[in-house]
Symmetry: C2
Subunit: 433 residues, 2 copies
């Protein structure tokens, strides 16, 4: 007796069956189409890199999660765990070949050996876009606008993009006399939505006295119109500054572009990472804010600091594609398609397959996707197969003359047949789109 190998995937990894893969691709294509319309350019980098490149000078949490090994040539290599670090390496390495401001997007898989119990996957798709080489409010705004457009293209419904400026938070901490505690404060503040005001107060209490903890909570709690919130932030941080001016200008752009309703100024958004220096932002679906941010990012001073002495500033964001898909799916906003081909051409006689395929090519040349049946089973069985495959129509070719004779088109929903010549069928099917 033969031993079989149990077919299975690794924990935290997934197969995508056609229906799920079509959904994923539809979203990726919609997002990508927006990026292209904004003039952003695609790049690609290797899945595997030198560990030194990816982890730099030690990566803390990240280091434990990375898929790292020694290759057959004795090199210490790792699978990328995000698209930001490879982009930093890419920008440093190819600086002379790029035209700045350089606007790029990158949609690709990344790998992290995360705890899968929280419903996290170890292989997932990231979708990053950045504009580097220009520290202007115009670039900040463009990234924000592109996020809004990309999410709209995904059918995510209303979104609320929460914006803040890390520099204003720094100014505020300086004003209250604790600029050096930034990382600890950020870590506490970042959890406001998850753990609530009281817990954040307790966490802040471990870093500073209760008067300052209260001040910090007041600062991050100011939520009103953009203008009022900004005024409160300006007062609390010691007056207008370059940073507050940036937030004013971005607001003006939003209003001029008629998109101000999608954005709020929220001083509690900090994005935890030390990396960001300018605006930071997170995006929430109005109908499902509890799943957290589906697109986040910010402005950084120096992307390429690890690899080059020439600093490179930029602003960028990352769409959490898997989370977004899960949310859109849960909201019932997706139409799960089983196939790209609405038309199924039945096979009446296998010997006529060449003619059926010629008929199909005529439809395909008119941009109508169609599958040709490969077996001359009973027509009712073929109707069932077509339905199972997700087709909407079955073409029953003419028995005498498949190419020039009258064709029967069966609507699988209404179960009605209509007879027509090919050219008028093509017109009918094209008009359905």
């Amino acid at each position: 007796m033969q031993d079989f190998i149990q077919p299975r995937v690794l924990k935290g990894f997934r197969d995508f069956l056609p229906q799920d893969e079509i959904l994923k691709r539809t979203l990726v294509e919609n997002v990508e189409n927006v990026f292209r319309k904004f003039g952003f350019l695609p790049i690609d980098t290797p899945a595997l890199e030198y560990t030194e490149i990816l982890l730099g000078k030690g990566g803390g949490e990240t280091e434990k999660q990375v898929y790292r090994f020694t290759d057959n040539g004795g090199r210490d290599v790792s699978l990328r765990f995000d698209l930001t670090v490879p982009f930093a390496r890419f920008a440093a390495e190819h600086r002379g070949e790029l035209t700045f401001p350089f606007k790029r997007y990158h949609i690709a898989k990344v790998w992290r050996g995360e705890n899968t119990q929280r419903g996290r996957y170890r292989e997932f798709t990231q979708c990053d876009f950045d504009c580097v080489g220009s520290n202007t409010a115009a670039c900040d705004f463009e990234i924000l606008l592109m996020m809004k457009e990309a999410l709209a293209a995904c059918g995510a419904g209303n979104v609320k993009i929460k914006v803040n400026h890390r520099g204003m938070f720094n100014n505020f901490l300086k004003k209250i006399g604790m600029p050096e505690k930034l990382t600890g404060v950020l870590r506490a503040v970042d959890k406001l939505d998850k753990i609530g005001r009281e817990e954040v107060f307790r966490a802040l209490g471990e870093i500073t006295d209760s008067a300052r903890a209260e001040e910090i909570l007041n600062f991050i709690g100011a939520k009103s119109t953009w203008e009022e919130t900004l005024d409160a932030m300006i007062k609390a941080s010691g007056g207008t500054s370059e940073e507050s001016e940036r937030l004013s200008v971005i607001r003006k752009y939003m209003i001029d572009c008629n998109v101000e309703d999608s954005f709020v100024l929220d001083p509690s958004i900090t994005r935890g990472l030390d990396y960001y220096t300018g605006i930071v932002f997170e995006t929430f679906l109005a109908e499902m804010s509890e799943i957290g941010s589906v697109c986040s990012g910010g402005r950084y001073d120096n992307l390429t600091g690890l690899y080059s002495k020439e600093p490179l500033s930029g602003v960028g964001a990352s769409v959490g594609l898997d989370r977004l898909i899960a949310a859109i799916d849960a909201l019932g906003k997706t139409q799960k398609r089983k196939t790209y081909a609405p038309v199924f051409i039945a096979c009446l006689d296998e010997a006529k397959t060449g003619l059926y395929q010629q008929l199909a090519l005529k439809l395909r040349n008119s941009n109508i996707a169609c599958e040709v049946s490969c077996e001359a089973k009973k027509l009712t069985a073929q109707f069932m197969l077509a339905e199972k495959k997700g087709a909407s129509y079955v073409i029953i070719p003419n028995e005498e003359d498949p190419l020039n004779g009258k064709i029967t088109l069966r609507d699988l929903t209404s179960r009605q047949n209509r007879e027509a010549y090919l050219s008028s069928l093509i017109d009918f099917l094209k008009a359905l789109k």
Copy 2:
């Protein structure tokens, strides 16, 4: 002084700068569009799998090339080295969830630690398509037709698809009394194009006597019309058979579908691997046959044999995307685009960025991709930047009223300006496509 990490990629790995990535994506999208029009469905599988799944019962050459390591959970894992083995595992695992005949495509990266000296890469994109669950000439023909259409969509020019049937070769070997030497003979015969007749004769001489070696060379050398070649093969292999009948039927389909000129029957095509049992094929570019086959495959009896006791037959092919791109590029058949955005909107005043982006959204809504300049540099500098980025036109917004005033459109090729209102500019730009 700070130490920098030298930015570099691993040997055999590549970055794709925008121009190359756009070219790759254009080809992938063209190929994918053909697959979708034929009703083939996309799937995806993990990059990383259990080594046992990928290597089965020992993989010979493959085993040495695979990126294999122990993950943090102590599992023996490997990066996939092709898309066929993961598909076999996928089909066995999800058999109950698929609708047969199941037609799938999969375009994804694979990794092999190959010798890079032969210009091979260690990370490359494969593009596989298969129809499983129906052993019919109709499926064989569909895969052949789809190959032809996919290559045409890539702009590969004239192709010649060489077809053979492994079963007929087996019949022939049986007839001359050496059925058991199949693998050795296949290995020798497979090299005919590379090493020539004499070397193949010498290699065959190590397996059999010179009379049989001569017979084998005659068998594989028969090259004339499909019909004459088939007749010679039938005679040499002991008369008509199921296998010769399959080749006749496929030929009839080709003629009925008006595509017979793209195909030749070539008994020297064997595809080395024991795996194939039915038709086998390779595809050559008429203008650059020396680069070898750009799309190959065949019919197999049992895809899922390693993982399941239920056999699953099918027919499939794989496009060597990187080789194809290199060839099309070398033939000068590619138009290297630097950007997806033909239009660049100049910035006259950074304070008006919101209005420029609103203008841009109007163009984008009419499917005209456009990049908005983020810095109000001198116009001549912006023209140069737009040109460097690959734009064809620059829009110079109206200084008074960017949205409703007359706009100047500069053609970067002719260096001519034209003035018009937005709606007529949109009409003009749409008509250019």
